[in-house]
Symmetry: C2
Subunit: 329 residues, 2 copies
């Protein structure tokens, strides 16, 4: 159930947000489901800052925290208490709290976020779309709060920055993002370790599945379209889990000249989950809409049946139409 913006909800300054937090106690910090480096880094950094101020705080997330983020949570506890104040971090909409945290959806006192799409569901909110990550805002907030930036907090803030900018690869990283990162380096952030863990480390199973997926990759339309697939058997053979499959859908589009990258992943029922990634000239969402799917202009999905051959045939027909239209325009 989407909460509509109530008339008394309002934007507050960082200074007022800090005041609210310092006047409160028994604080819950909410993370979004399928937690990423930014929601977790923001929550952990704020937790550590509020603990310095003697507050009782707990971090709440509807999903388990992936192990790779352990370094941010050293010494952090997750006590259960009745919250007097609820702060959501990096959460654009209460729906993203997920089932388990949905009881808090209507009760968020403060939201700190950088999504321009934020639905302003919280009683008070600090929304800064110009920030590359919520941790970039958290840096200012902790500074305003006069918290000491420990090396652990530095790791948390750096983590949100690097994960939300794809290791500084997306256009959202500004000069200020680099300045905050520089300050976090000075405060002891272990950037090399963090980036290695987040971006450079492949499990053996991931390596195995990647080898196999690359072997299936074929090219069409003069190399403008690449299609790869993953069967359940390939996943089984490589020992890959869901985390290992993360980002596999990006592989075909990474090849030079590819404007439409397609990855087909066999589901339990034998149908194929199709992921389409496109360059600036092609709308992935439109291609997938033809098969009842959808998504963003650059990344969309749908489901097709008919085995590898049948599914590939259908998607290639849709791709062909796109290129024909391109030529005619």
């Amino acid at each position: 159930m989407r909460e509509t913006m109530s008339p008394e909800n309002k934007s507050v300054s960082l200074h007022d947000a800090v005041k609210l937090l310092l006047e409160a106690d028994d604080i819950y910090l909410l993370c979004h489901q399928y937690p990423d480096g930014d929601t977790l880094g923001s929550a952990a950094a704020l937790y550590l800052g509020l603990r310095q101020k003697g507050k009782r705080v707990s971090i709440r997330c509807g999903d388990p925290i992936p192990q790779k983020y352990d370094y941010m949570f050293e010494g952090i506890e997750f006590p259960d208490f009745e919250p007097q104040f609820i702060c959501a971090v990096d959460i654009a909409d209460p729906q993203l709290l997920g089932q388990r945290l949905s009881p808090y959806a209507q009760r968020v006192d403060l939201c700190i976020d950088h999504h321009g799409s934020n639905t302003k569901y919280a009683r008070q909110y600090v929304i800064r779309p110009e920030a590359a990550s919520t941790t970039e805002i958290m840096y200012d907030l902790l500074f305003t709060m006069e918290a000491e930036i420990t090396s652990q907090i530095a790791d948390c803030i750096y983590t949100g920055i690097t994960t939300d900018t794809g290791c500084f690869r997306y256009t959202n990283a500004t000069s200020r993002t680099y300045i905050v990162a520089a300050h976090m380096m000075d405060k002891g952030a272990d950037a090399a370790m963090i980036n290695r863990v987040m971006f450079d480390t492949k499990s053996r199973a991931r390596l195995e599945i990647e080898r196999r997926v690359l072997d299936t990759m074929s090219f069409y339309f003069g190399g403008k379209c690449a299609v790869a697939y993953v069967t359940r058997e390939m996943v089984r053979q490589s020992g890959a889990n869901d985390e290992d499959m993360d980002g596999i859908a990006a592989l075909p589009r990474q090849v030079e000249g590819v404007e439409i990258g397609v990855t087909m992943r066999e589901k339990e029922d034998g149908s194929f989950k199709i992921s389409v990634r496109t360059g600036p000239k092609v709308n992935a969402s439109k291609i997938c809409a033809e098969f009842g799917g959808g998504g963003h202009p650059g990344a969309a999905g749908c489901v097709l049946t008919g085995g590898v051959t049948g599914a590939k045939h259908q998607i290639l027909s849709a791709v062909q139409k796109v290129f024909e239209k391109q030529e005619n325009s």
Copy 2:
């Protein structure tokens, strides 16, 4: 032929280096063979700065400049003249000039470099091992020279930083590296484009060679060491050029648990160029020094003979010693 340090060679301040450059004219800027983003970015940035000062300058490189660096060379010309002053950038040793530029090996007037292993072959030199890239030094040099940092120069300096830090992933990136990057963002560097071109795009040939290299990867010492190799035949089959081979050496170390990643690349004469990449606990340079090679603590190289089997055997013996020492300490 390795030039030994002559007694009159000396370290100079940036200020003196700038003075030398501004007093000179008809300047050659030398890049190392198999040019990378740092040697090219340094040369292009310095070229543009010196052109602002009205100097006749030319960039010289023993190998062709890969197309992906084109954005740094817009408007840059490569005139042929008899140089009155020769400046080497990012070149640790005159051997790295390659055959074509070897006539200049004994005549380098100034060297700007960040390699701690620099053999101090130039008459005067600025060597700063604490800099993540030579372009990080070039930033200071251009500042000292009072050159205007155009967006093209910003792209050049950012490029050296990001390529030499593996997109901020290596331990050589310091808070100062981020500060310089921030400044380059302010000056108009297109970081998102640069990082996409450098790190996210693979040629078809690159994909082919990567498939093959991944297939050769084997693991040793309980998965703490991974070794992959590339033969000339594999390169031929995949159609890969030197540019396509860039970063191949990083693949073995990317597998979870690997502390020492080794890539062996067959050279024309059948010997193998060994690249060793290590985690924080292991000094790659020491391993390679055993075979007459060298480099940085995290990335070093040497040459071995004896075919795939012989070369692998030798390097694994050296790796074994490292792990034995680790256990005993």
